[in-house]
Symmetry: C2
Amino acid sequence: MWFRSSAGRSAARLFATIYTKSGMVPTLSWTEDGVRFIDQTKLPLEESYVLATTYEQVAKIIVTMVVRGAPAIGVSAAYGIALGALKTKAESAQEFAPEFEKICARLAGTRPTAVNLFWAIDRMKALFAPLAGSGTPLDEIKHRLLAEAHAMYEEDIAACRTMGAFGGALLPKEGGVLTHCNAGALATCGYGTALGVIRAAVEQGKQIHVYADETRPFLQGARLTAWELMADGIATTVICDNMAASLMRAGKIQAVVVGADRIAANGDTANKIGTYNVAILAKEHGIPFYVAAPWSTIDLATPTGDAIPIEERPQVEVTHHAGKQLTPNGVGICNPAFDVTPAKYVTAIITERGVLRAPYTDSLREMELVAG
Amino acid sequence: MWFRSSAGRSAARLFATIYTKSGMVPTLSWTEDGVRFIDQTKLPLEESYVLATTYEQVAKIIVTMVVRGAPAIGVSAAYGIALGALKTKAESAQEFAPEFEKICARLAGTRPTAVNLFWAIDRMKALFAPLAGSGTPLDEIKHRLLAEAHAMYEEDIAACRTMGAFGGALLPKEGGVLTHCNAGALATCGYGTALGVIRAAVEQGKQIHVYADETRPFLQGARLTAWELMADGIATTVICDNMAASLMRAGKIQAVVVGADRIAANGDTANKIGTYNVAILAKEHGIPFYVAAPWSTIDLATPTGDAIPIEERPQVEVTHHAGKQLTPNGVGICNPAFDVTPAKYVTAIITERGVLRAPYTDSLREMELVAG
């Protein structure tokens, strides 16, 4: 309700209807009252929504993983910045500038690994700086920031669709496809990266049976991937992470497709913890291992995976489930949220610009020059 | 109380004190009133005990995994048979023989993969048949069956100690050792197989840090391995199963030691689901992968791992935790309790008869001829 008295009102109203699409999982959407998120910590048993009316609330929603998935948190941060702008009490761009920096810093501090977050914030900064510098009225800047967030939202869905078309063609006509974590509609603004590839393959008429790693400790596979694939009527079996090798040996898996949180210049790929395990198992069984990610996940400024910061999450995610303690008091716990899969395990990287093959140092740089 | 009026009473009394050892985890123990089991489904938060006073109760305790671990369920079945004999209303061996067969069949039907179960039952049968055939009084047969179960119990602990001595020498002077599931005191009558190797290494003065795979879905690592190693003051960190590869890549793991449920004549090893994953990861990182198991786990009648029956456990173990549902209704679920690690991934098999190396078809057969 806050922006009824702000200049952002009409823009907000306009997009509120456009961006609540039917037939897509409502991962996040702009509404008259702020940014609405499906609460991914509650799925699949409860479909509930959280409304962020301040940038600080968006930040907390990212930290607590109410929204997660590299592309989704990038766009969430962009909306968070737009919210911050729309709610400012500043009366000029000059007055707003330090607050803008503070908003950006707060959102950048939420999670360290997914580069899409920083990419989105940098894009908002790149829009803001020249506008503020050229004396553009603050009301217009607010409008432009919100429009930029909306553009990223739309681009994200379009990128997923394009990735799907490219990647769907790589999957077998019939067979089992293993995925890890949730790189689906819930990790993006819609359609998904890895699950977009699977959706596209199914739309292309392929007979795909998805094996979804449950993905401890947060269970994104068991909870989220299963939920959204079942909603689409795609055959899905949930397995514990440690069952993948025996399924591969039994000939049940013909391809692996995963998402990514950051891809270094040499193709090393940070993704949800356990992805590296799956990549090794795929290699050992001669199964192709595909990474699907929008170009915003590619970080040419990071030379190799060794330079990617890996977030350590709270121990309670491992030690407890639904309030019930699993481990003895005082035992040591590891909880890295991500791991790095060296480029040599990656059969191809599927992006909206095309499918890239090794050597990735060359193919990524060339694609950046051509399309960038 | 039931055997106060039976011939087994004095033997039972005698062993009741002997077999409740101090300083050992009370996995199972013979008491005046029957077989007492620590309830492994309740650990680590609750240390409670279940008393089986009939063979049927022993069978249910095995099925529901109140007791688990290949060596432990073998000895449990032997005690179950002894219980059945002590409680029979038959008045002669001839009258008891069909009931004895029924008891053995019930216990053999509890779980299919661990060969120790069938080994123990066969050993009880091999004792019973000539005694019954030679007209031995039933009271003496009861006594002998109980004594045989006690002997297996003692032999199991002794085998673990000897395995420990052999295997402890293989571990590095200092470093991280990964184990999967629980092949500890709780999986045996005491000391453990894989954890016996670790305990022995620590007793040999080695500086070992244990990384315990939590081992979904039953969480034997997070719950049981962590509990018993902490009780012994051995440094332990619990990890999710999908974190092993990144720890290996980071140089934190110098060796892997696991137990086994059945080892085929060619060295293929059935063990808790996820063991095969770990074996591949170890190979990929050049880390030795050791299997520790008593000779009763070796099944020379099974030529390769392909012939080992793999138990499929109830889906609810994957879909729920502590009564809380994790997955959406109706999604497909896999829950194989075991997988098979092909012999080529096994660096050595540690038994109480010695350490065996590839080619296992030869080394296992030779060891059987020498020691058998």
